[in-house]
């Protein structure tokens, strides 16, 4: 009887497992459908602001980025201060996956961003821009 009880206890311990999945997102999605319309030398800053809204750093809180920067896991925000000739749009996502099996536990935390950066010339027209959709790696 005691042996059975012990076996049952051991089995229940082994089966005492759990899976946790968490997602965190900060910033607004970058309107990727508007990106093909950006033409260096033609598109104006007013159009960029109209299409993509207020840039990051001016309108969004960055709790996750601040947390990671404090722990030297990120090089910092793309720009420290808003420059007149650079606008940055960024959506940052974090995915946490944890599997807890009492004896063996794994925790994966992956952070990635979609980033659009637009440079302007002295006439407030786009001179260069770059876009990366990094959050696809989290799917």
């Amino acid at each position: 009887m005691i042996v059975r009880l012990g076996l049952a206890l051991l089995l229940s311990l082994m089966c005492a497992s759990g899976c946790f999945i968490g997602r965190y997102e900060e910033g607004l999605p970058v309107a990727a459908d508007k990106i093909p319309q950006i033409v260096p030398g033609e598109t104006t800053k007013a159009e960029i602001l109209d299409w993509f809204g207020a840039p990051s750093g001016l309108a969004d809180a960055h709790l996750l980025e601040s947390f990671l920067v404090d722990r030297e896991l990120m090089p910092g925000p793309v720009v420290d201060l808003p420059f007149a000739d650079v606008l940055v749009y960024r959506l940052t996502q974090g995915r946490l996956t944890a599997m807890l099996f009492v004896l063996y536990n794994t925790i994966d935390f992956h952070v990635a961003s979609d980033t659009l950066i637009v440079f302007f010339d002295a006439n407030d027209r786009v001179s260069y821009f770059g876009y990366r959709k990094g959050t696809d790696e989290l799917r």
Binding site: I2, V3, G6, L7, L9, L10, L13, P40, L68, L73, M74, P75, G76, P77, V78, V79, F83, V86, V88, V102, L103, Y104, N105, T106, I107, D108, F109, H110, V111, A112, S113, T115, L116, I117, F119, S127, Y128, F129, G130, Y131, R132, G134, E137
Partner: protein, 129 residues
């Protein structure tokens, strides 16, 4: 009876010990750079943005901009063995922590032409556990 004791001891021991593996990945893997893709004096800022995408950090210097690209991975493994009921005494604790990063900086002159490139790939040196 001795079998039951052994079983109970084993259960207590298993309850008290555990292994935790934490993996933290921040950023996106840097694209592979082929020879001749970033040539100082030739490659433009537009080329870099086209090929590598936006930087993770933009640094402004008097002589021109610096693009910083970073991909950071941290693996942490912990094994603990402790007495769970009376003293909570830690008998053994082993932790291994590794942090490696791929980092690239691209320096530009004032006219937006690449003046220098620095690249270091560190994530390949990361142990799986």
């Amino acid at each position: 009876m001795s079998c039951a004791r052994a079983l109970a001891s084993l259960a207590a021991l298993m309850l008290a010990s555990g292994c935790i593996i934490v993996r933290t990945y921040v950023g996106n893997e840097l694209p592979a750079i082929s020879d001749g893709q970033l040539v100082p004096g030739v490659t433009t800022k537009a080329d870099v943005l086209q090929d590598l995408g936006p930087p993770d950090r933009l640094v402004r210097q008097y002589e021109g901009d610096v693009f910083v690209y970073a991909y950071i991975r941290r693996n942490e493994s912990t094994f603990m063995l402790e007495e769970p009921v009376f003293t909570h005494l830690t008998i053994l604790s082993y932790t291994k922590e590794q942090e490696k990063s791929d980092r690239m900086v691209v320096l530009f002159d004032r006219s937006g032409i690449v003046s220098g490139v620095g690249f270091r790939r560190g994530t390949e040196q990361l142990d799986p556990f």
